[in-house]
């Protein structure tokens, strides 16, 4: 019986183009794993209707959301809310990882306390990253975004590998810390972006968290 995963990854503005780029590596890995069945709602397919249909028909145990967020919703293509207080019941018995701003603050709590989601991983404030302005049309090649890409991959990769939620968070936070200590030198930082990159990493480290049962795994 394969494990089932649902991923949403819109790509219609600068921020979602970076998250979409960050997701490519894990998509590539999952495609090579026979034991995992993935529903990939990408681009315009990342809408509320498809999200609901996949959850009810395929019953994935892990939901990986990439998009904009606020304290009470996470969006898909063109800012359409795909998860909010009205359909949060869909998270029951599942693990959710929202790579989006703010949603852990309220939506994550509601998912776990009211609707019995197993766990909700996300950010209690904005998810920050630093980009190279000359690379916004090709985020895959943006060196400034590299440490953020790395941390995002570590989190979802550890989840996919079956580590429990507590370990996944611990591992990602350790990586954020390690990158804050080691990232960059003046030689490879011609525009003086390293202090900001370190700050954004520290910000993401501070506000990454979870609600629910830390011992559950995918």
């Amino acid at each position: 019986m394969p494990k089932k995963l649902l991923i949403t990854r819109p790509n219609y503005d600068v921020a979602t183009s970076y998250l979409y780029s960050f997701s490519k590596e894990i998509i590539k890995k999952i495609k090579g794993v026979k034991e995992i069945h993935m529903a990939d709602l990408q681009l315009a397919k990342a809408n509320r209707n498809n999200f609901t249909t996949v959850l009810s028909k395929q019953n994935p145990s892990l939901i990986f959301l990439n998009g904009h967020g606020d304290t009470t919703s996470v969006t898909g293509h063109k800012d359409e809310s795909i998860l909010d207080e009205k359909n949060i019941n869909l998270t029951k018995d599942r693990i959710v990882y929202a790579l989006a701003c703010d949603s852990l603050e309220k939506l994550g709590k509601i998912a776990v306390t009211k609707e019995k989601a197993k766990a909700y991983i996300g950010y209690r404030a904005s998810f920050m990253f630093v980009k190279d302005p000359s690379r916004t049309s090709s985020p895959d090649k943006d060196k400034n975004a590299m440490p953020f890409r790395k941390a995002c991959f570590t989190l979802i990769n550890s989840l996919i590998d079956g580590e429990n939620v507590s370990k996944v968070i611990e591992k990602t936070k350790s990586q954020y810390e390690e990158m804050i200590r080691s990232y960059g030198t003046s030689e490879d930082d011609p525009y003086g972006d390293v202090p900001l990159i370190r700050f954004a990493l520290a910000w993401d480290l501070e506000f990454l968290g979870m609600e629910g049962d830390p011992s559950v795994s995918f």
Binding site: V14, A15, G69, F129, V130, D193, L196, F199, A200, A202
Partner: protein, 69 residues
Amino acid sequence: MKNELYEGQKELVLARLKTLNTNSKIMLGGDKEYTVKDMIKHIEDNDDFGRKVVEVQIKMLKILTNIRE
């Protein structure tokens, strides 16, 4: 005492930020961008975002200097 500590931290963070290129930008997931200049303004205004910036900058300095909380 707590307030004095925060004021000291705030001065330290402002001094550090003022050494950076004030037009450098940080991207927030919501497609908003903040320049260093914006961050300085939020800190000087003592608003919620500014206080969070101070808190995180201090935590970052502790990591860089290996100070465990």
